[in-house]
């Protein structure tokens, strides 16, 4: 009887089509090559990890010593570090007064970590000390020094740092103030706003439109985008914020809702960036020209952008209701390569896909870090080719 059944099953298997399943093996064709990507839990799973609902990664930055620092958003915000030597994520503590830290972690030349919080709107300083020797204690407060609030009533929307000048620059929300924090003097200066009005739109739109990140060029000038997609430049020598006559790329008519999502400095002195409509552009900070490099994806948003040692730019696109994809751009040829969904499949140990990405950074040894921003989030490590 069993032989008969075996024969039957063998016969049927031989004529069956590939089985549909919850996850078809064909799916591996549309995700990032599995030999070039891995993922990390945010802590020591399953217990000592940043809890679900508090793990959306919304800030990543690499310190001068190569350590990766990141911050999460959710019902609480956490700071974590990844020391490349060890390779795992170590939660450092709950950031006081914060449920959100959006592109607002920077590290000074001395190694101090500065965190811009929301909704409190305070700038905090964390001084790293023997992190590897500390045990993980989920829920303990992060020891920080509160440096104050840059603009009263405003939360911090984005931060960048000029390590040479020892100056931190930021944008605030909801009123789009541009501020400077002098590390030497400990003083904040408010230089005005990059957006005065909420653009015309539907009833559910309540935000003044500004860039999600900032960048410092080789001369120490700071760039952001603001109202109507216009670029703004802060000249630290003149201590002046000015609106430029150039705009982030947009389909004509969509400028009022256009933001720069990501900025990236290039060794050539140029600045690359990505917009909320998903365009990649190159900004010449000397001649103040913008070149639209097109769209790598049929999706909105450029959630992050880094430059790898192979000379290519790597980015992630996709809005919160889409599915994030990784792409590369080769400046020497102008060619895009769409690499697929950000997914790690290491069955039977773990399998996870990032549908939404909140931040990217690149390590000193070329590993690209991709921070997932969802209720349950992981940190992804992508290894670009040489």
């Amino acid at each position: 009887m069993k032989l008969k059944r075996l024969a039957l099953v063998t016969l049927v298997l031989s004529i069956s089509v590939a089985a549909y399943s919850q996850r078809d093996p064909d799916y591996d064709k549309v995700v990032v090559p599995q030999t070039r990507i891995d993922a990390r839990d945010l802590g020591y799973a399953p217990v000592d990890v940043i809890p679900d609902g508090e793990s959306g990664i919304t800030s990543l930055t690499v310190a001068p010593n190569g350590y990766l620092y990141g911050a999460t958003s959710g019902s609480h915000a956490h700071l974590f570090v990844l020391i490349p030597l060890h390779g795992y994520v170590q939660p450092l503590g709950v950031i006081p007064g914060a449920t959100s830290v959006r592109h607002a972690v920077v590290v000074s030349a001395s190694g101090d970590v500065y965190i811009g919080t929301s909704p409190d709107g305070h700038l905090l300083k964390y001084t790293p000390h023997d992190e590897f020797d500390q045990s993980i204690q989920i829920g303990k407060p992060l020891p920080v020094m509160d440096l104050g609030q840059p603009v009263a009533g405003e939360n911090i929307f984005a931060l960048t740092i000029d390590r040479k000048a020892n100056a931190i620059y930021g944008l605030t929300s909801p009123n789009a103030h541009f501020f400077e924090y002098s590390i030497a003097s400990g003083k904040f200066t408010d230089f005005g706003v990059v957006a005065k009005n909420i653009p015309e739109g539907e009833k559910f739109e309540h935000d003044k439109i500004m860039s999600r990140t900032l960048i410092v060029d080789r001369e120490g000038n700071v760039f952001s985008s603001g109202e109507n997609g216009s670029f703004f430049r802060f000249d630290p020598k003149a201590q002046k914020l000015e609106k430029l006559s150039i705009q982030a790329p947009a389909v004509p008519g969509r400028e009022p809702w256009t933001r720069v999502d990501a900025f990236l400095p290039d060794p050539s002195g140029a600045i690359y960036g990505g917009t909320s409509d998903g365009y990649l552009f190159r900004l010449d900070p000397e001649n103040l020209t913008v070149t639209n490099l097109g769209k790598p994806l049929n999706q909105y948003r450029i959630d992050g952008l880094v430059r790898a040692s192979d000379g290519k730019l790597y980015g992630v696109g996709g809005d919160k209701e889409e599915m994030a994809r990784l792409f590369s751009y080769d400046p020497s040829t102008g060619a895009y390569h769409v690499m697929g969904f950000i997914d790690v499949d290491r069955r039977p140990y773990y399998v996870w896909q990032a549908y939404g990405v909140g931040a990217m950074a690149i390590g000193n040894r070329g590993t690209i870090y991709i921070g997932e921003n969802e209720r349950i989030s992981k940190l992804y490590l992508f290894y670009p080719g040489q």
Binding site: A19, D24, D26, V30, P46, D52, N298, W352, R375
Partner: protein
């Protein structure tokens, strides 16, 4: 002349081939039940869905309502699914309509509303609540695109008026992979696909809420359980359980763990299906426990939400066909579990990996019971129709107000040349969807 002769030979050859094919098919169909003298047979009645022969699947979407109507969601691959009901009092099958039309999306060339892929629920107002789903995902290449699937609709069918109310799209671009309706709080709950978010629609306030990610490819929960107080439970991660409390609107993750099989047993299936979730659970108001079957080895368990954290989940046995019980290749658990009025759990176990056209082969399902009073598991035998055809698999079960047990699944049919009078093929066997009816008292 030579041409005519050649044509005649071709015709003869074609007839011979057809005859051989017919003989092989008949032999094959007769062989499927795997009947031998020792095999037990349990006979079930059946009703086909008239005019809907091409519907290819049904998953979870079965509800035996209090008025005797039995609601079924029929799935269509690449086209619109249908909402139907069987009026058990009139012995009549009624097609309420195709889902594209009911959602107002007919003719828009959007990804179709191909399925109801989750459980229906019956409201205090007598309406039947549900949400729609997509069938084809194309490796998500069309996700969030103009031609892609627009998203699941929350809906209600009113048996008094025969009208369907569309509450609109809930999760944009996503389907409702899993769902449940709670009459206490008057809400439709769901888990979306592909992003695995926990969402709900609050009928009184019309609020559509997304509570964020709960599932990923590591674990896909196919049944949400709702207790007598309106708390919602689901599985996630490595055999973990979450709880949603509508009073606080919060999700908490419990420390209880499901009795899933150790990972690392490579069946091929393991790559595609995570085997870390509960497949199906039913709530028992009498013991105030859930009873469920997990997906890796069809292990039956109880889950008592009120028990101390380390004592909430208990392994009760295995609901697989006994000959598979100690083997690696236990067929993937089905969604066909229901609690009968006789305090027995009824479970239709697959005879081989079953997923309609994607099944590994054709084999008869077995009806297996677990007696809540005695703890005894019994294999009632292969499920056959009165004409001897086997039930080739099911993926939904429910109990009617009179104690009748209903399943929806597939049975073999004879293909009619020149027309597709079947929903698909399991291996080489044409099948058609049917409602299967079992009367426990008849045994």
């Amino acid at each position: 002349m030579a041409k005519k002769q050649a044509k005649g030979w071709k015709e003869d050859f074609r007839r011979v081939v057809q005859a051989v094919q017919c003989l092989l098919m008949l032999a094959f169909l007769a062989f499927i039940p795997n009947a031998n003298a020792a095999s037990k047979i349990v006979t079930v009645e059946y009703r086909f869905f008239p005019g809907l022969a091409r519907m290819g699947g049904n998953w979870a979407a079965l509800k035996a309502a209090s008025d005797g109507k039995v609601y079924v969601g029929l799935a269509c691959n690449g086209c619109s699914g249908h909402l139907v009901f069987y009026d058990s009092k009139k012995n009549q099958m009624v097609d309420v309509g195709d889902l594209n039309t009911l959602t107002g999306e007919n003719g828009l060339n959007l990804g179709p509303q191909s399925k109801i892929h989750a459980k229906f629920g019956e409201g205090k107002d007598g309406r039947i609540y549900f949400a729609t789903h997509a069938e084809q995902w194309f490796d998500y290449a069309r996700f969030a695109t103009q031609e892609g699937y627009p998203g699941s609709h929350y809906m209600a069918y009113d048996p008094k008026t025969g009208q369907v109310q569309d509450f609109g799209i809930g999760p944009r671009f996503e389907g409702m992979n899993t769902g449940a309706y709670d009459p206490k709080f008057d809400r439709i709950y769901g888990l979306t696909h592909p992003r695995g978010h926990f969402v709900y629609y609050d009928v009184p306030t019309h609020a559509k809420v997304d509570k964020g990610r709960i599932n990923n490819w590591d674990s896909i929960c196919r049944t949400l359980g709702i207790d007598g107080d309106g708390n919602v439970y689901g599985s996630f991660g490595h055999g973990q359980i979450f709880k949603y409390d509508p009073r606080t609107d919060d999700i908490t993750e419990l420390s209880a763990r499901l009795p899933i099989r150790q990972k690392g047993i490579s069946l091929g299936r393991d790559y595609n299906k995570a085997e870390t979730a509960w497949r199906v659970v039913v709530w028992d108001q009498q013991t105030k426990k859930f009873y469920g079957v997990e997906e890796s080895a069809s292990t039956l368990f109880s889950f008592d939400p009120a028990a101390p954290p380390d004592n909430q989940v208990k392994r009760l046995g295995q609901m697989a066909i006994p000959e598979f019980a100690s083997r690696r290749n236990v067929p993937y658990a089905t969604l066909s579990l229901t609690l009968g009025h006789d305090r027995k759990l009824y479970y239709a176990a697959a005879g081989t990996e079953f997923d309609y056209s994607s099944s590994a082969g054709a084999a008869a399902s077995h009806l297996i019971t677990y007696d809540l009073n005695t703890g005894k598991i019994e294999d009632l035998g292969e499920m056959h129709l009165p004409d001897g055809r086997p039930v080739l698999g099911t993926n939904a079960a429910d109990t009617g107000p009179d104690g009748t047990i209903y399943f929806v699944g597939a049975t073999s049919v004879k293909a009619t040349p020149g027309e597709q009078n079947y929903g698909g093929k399991i291996g080489s066997v044409p099948y058609r969807l049917a409602l299967f009816i079992y009367h426990p008292k008849a045994d």
